[in-house]
């Protein structure tokens, strides 16, 4: 446990020592802010039209701003996850520092969890600043806090799963760009696998859509914690990290 924390802390400090963390924060906040502004403007226009036409359609901040906003956030996620994970092992391999870690009295699992945890904490830090946008909603409206927090939980779980996939891919190469590109492709594919269900109802389409991350985020977006979706994310995290340990081990046997 102690080793995990030591490695995680070093990893975080290296994100923050270089401009990476700050650059990611700037980009994330800008794009998220733009999404937010769009949705709020649309919401205001809609509610104004409703009033002018005299119809009394129920407007809901949770349903019409927060939920689609965190849905859009998935875009950002598949874009930013590769940027966060690509250096995790690729950089260590290139610099030779992997030799330090691999010859220290630390288990491979501890190295991996430490690094993945650092990536997750960095992502949560990015996500924390997106929360500032919602302060406006609370100032001028009455959104439901609980369902918003559940939606955030879904976002974090999904990120944790994709980060585990990215961590694994980063062990496969010493080239950060290759690691990043492959992670991006993997995240994108995991995201769009579910498209096949729209025109195909065969068994393999169902399986493919179950593998896809997208359908599993819906329940969280609605403010509901579904056990099967929760289990899905946890098992992707577990599998990703498990493959990472295998990959590190095979690196030892092959190198």
């Amino acid at each position: 446990m102690r080793s995990i924390w030591i490695i995680c802390r070093r990893e975080l400090s290296s994100y923050f020592a270089s401009p990476i963390a700050w650059l990611l924060l700037t980009m994330y906040s800008l794009i998220f802010g733009y999404f937010f502004w769009n949705l709020v403007t649309y919401f205001l226009q809609n509610s104004m039209e409703m009033q002018m036409m005299g119809r009394n359609m129920p407007m809901n901040i949770n349903e019409q701003i927060i939920r689609p906003l965190l849905g859009n956030n998935a875009f950002l996620e598949i874009l930013f996850v590769p940027l966060i994970t690509m250096r995790l092992f690729a950089e260590e391999k290139r610099n030779g520092t992997i030799e330090l870690l691999a010859t220290s009295p630390v288990r491979d699992v501890e190295i991996i969890i430490g690094k993945w945890l650092a990536a997750l904490l960095l992502y949560c830090w990015l996500l924390f600043f997106t929360g500032l946008n919602f302060l406006f909603l609370f100032r001028y409206g009455h959104p439901d806090v609980k369902s918003m927090l559940v939606a955030y939980l879904g976002v974090v779980l999904q990120a944790a799963a994709l980060l585990a996939v990215g961590t694994f891919i980063s062990t496969l190469t010493r080239n950060q760009i290759i690691a990043g590109a492959c992670t991006f492709a993997a995240c994108l594919m995991l995201w769009v696998f579910s498209w096949v269900t729209s025109y195909n109802a065969s068994t393999w389409a169902t399986v493919l859509s179950y593998i896809s991350v997208l359908p599993h985020s819906e329940s969280f977006g609605r403010g509901v914690i579904e056990i099967k979706d929760f289990v899905y994310y946890v098992s992707v995290i577990f599998l990703g990290l498990f493959f990472t340990t295998r990959s590190l081990e095979s690196l030892r046997w092959r190198s």
Partner: protein
């Protein structure tokens, strides 16, 4: 402290390390010598549990590298060929991190960090980024991280490579001063380094053990027959080199005379004396009595360099028992393919 038995590392196409056995006693400083690609780094990486051997056994401080890798790593300090530095970290921050990684904490950690900074003379660069340090400083930081947890065994892979001559001397000095507290294996392809720093030497070539002995013994072994170099010249006229050679051969105790160089007025001979004969006086007397000029007379003691070349260059002759014909070096005239066993760098 370290025992290695039949250690082997095979790759799909090559055998990097081929049944190497040796042992190192506590407190010794051992030079691991071989040309580039001989398998030095591979052997060291197996000892540090960076990767497991294909076959064979190795123990460090009583722990098996396959069975108890974590224990082995706890007792080893390792400096890879290029120091494993996180370039975006400060020196002291990095040393603290490595210390924690090796299991230090609290006041003990601070004490050890202060100690290695002092020992490796890093005080001036304590708060500098590692990426901004010169090669010499980086090497010292590498050494500092290797000794931070006061390991029993230090494994240093080419600790002086890439340093300038002054830095090399400093590094050797530092390594020698560490010998009292740690058992040290250092690899190198620079011979004087071994002569200067090590007590014992292990020579490997193409993955095979060529020799293991103390430096003094190796030198003595190669000097079994004393050879003397002389340069003789005629005062006037031509110098009858062949005739003088025959006369030299007749001196008691001389077993062989070679003409190394010949010019019109003189020649350089290498004389080999059989063991136990003091021949230098006789040679001098012969030359002077013969009416020649004796321009030079010096013992042609073999340096470690020559021993090394002899051992690695004629591997099959030195170690005829274990090498198969397939591993013999190709005949010098043939321009054919290198043998399959050749280790790549």
């Amino acid at each position: 402290m370290i025992t290695v038995e039949d250690l082997t590392k095979r790759y799909p196409r090559t055998t990097a390390v081929d049944h190497i056995s040796f042992s190192v006693d506590k407190g010794q400083i051992v030079g691991f010598l071989g040309p580039n690609g001989a398998g030095k780094t591979t052997t060291m990486r197996m000892l540090t549990c960076f990767f497991p051997p294909t076959a064979g056994k190795a123990t460090v401080a009583g722990f098996d590298v396959l069975e108890q890798p974590l224990e082995v790593r706890r007792h080893i300090g390792y400096l890879p060929e290029s120091p494993p530095l996180y370039l975006e970290m400060e020196t002291i921050e990095y040393l603290r991190f490595v210390g924690q990684l090796k299991g230090l904490a609290g006041t003990e950690l601070e004490k050890r960090v202060a100690y290695v900074i002092d020992r490796c003379a890093l005080g001036d660069v304590k708060t500098k980024l590692l990426g901004k340090l010169s090669k010499g400083y980086r090497q010292r930081v590498g050494l500092a991280q290797a000794i931070i947890h006061n390991p029993d065994v230090l494994i240093l892979d080419e600790p002086t490579s890439g340093l300038d001559p002054r830095q090399i001397n400093e590094a050797r000095e530092l390594i020698r001063s560490l010998a009292g507290d740690h058992t040290i294996i250092l690899s190198t392809h620079i011979l004087p380094e071994v002569e200067q720093t090590c007590e014992q030497v292990i020579i490997i070539n193409k993955g095979k053990l060529v020799a293991t002995d103390s430096v003094a013994n190796l030198q003595a072994r190669a000097r079994g027959a004393e050879s003397v170099l002389i340069e003789v010249a005629a005062r006037t006229g031509d110098f009858p080199a062949a005739q003088v050679q025959q006369q030299l051969e007749r001196i008691g105790g001389i077993s062989r005379v070679l003409v190394k160089e010949q010019f019109t007025r003189g020649a350089v001979y290498e004389l080999e004396a059989s063991k136990g004969h003091m021949v230098r006086g006789d040679i001098a007397r012969f030359v002077v009595n013969g009416g020649w000029e004796l321009n030079e007379l010096r013992p042609a003691a073999m340096s470690l360099e020559e021993i090394f070349l002899q051992l690695t260059g004629t591997e099959a002759v030195v170690e005829p028992t274990s090498s198969e014909p397939a591993n013999l070096p190709p005949p010098p005239s043939g321009g054919g393919e290198p043998p399959a066993s050749e280790a790549h760098a």
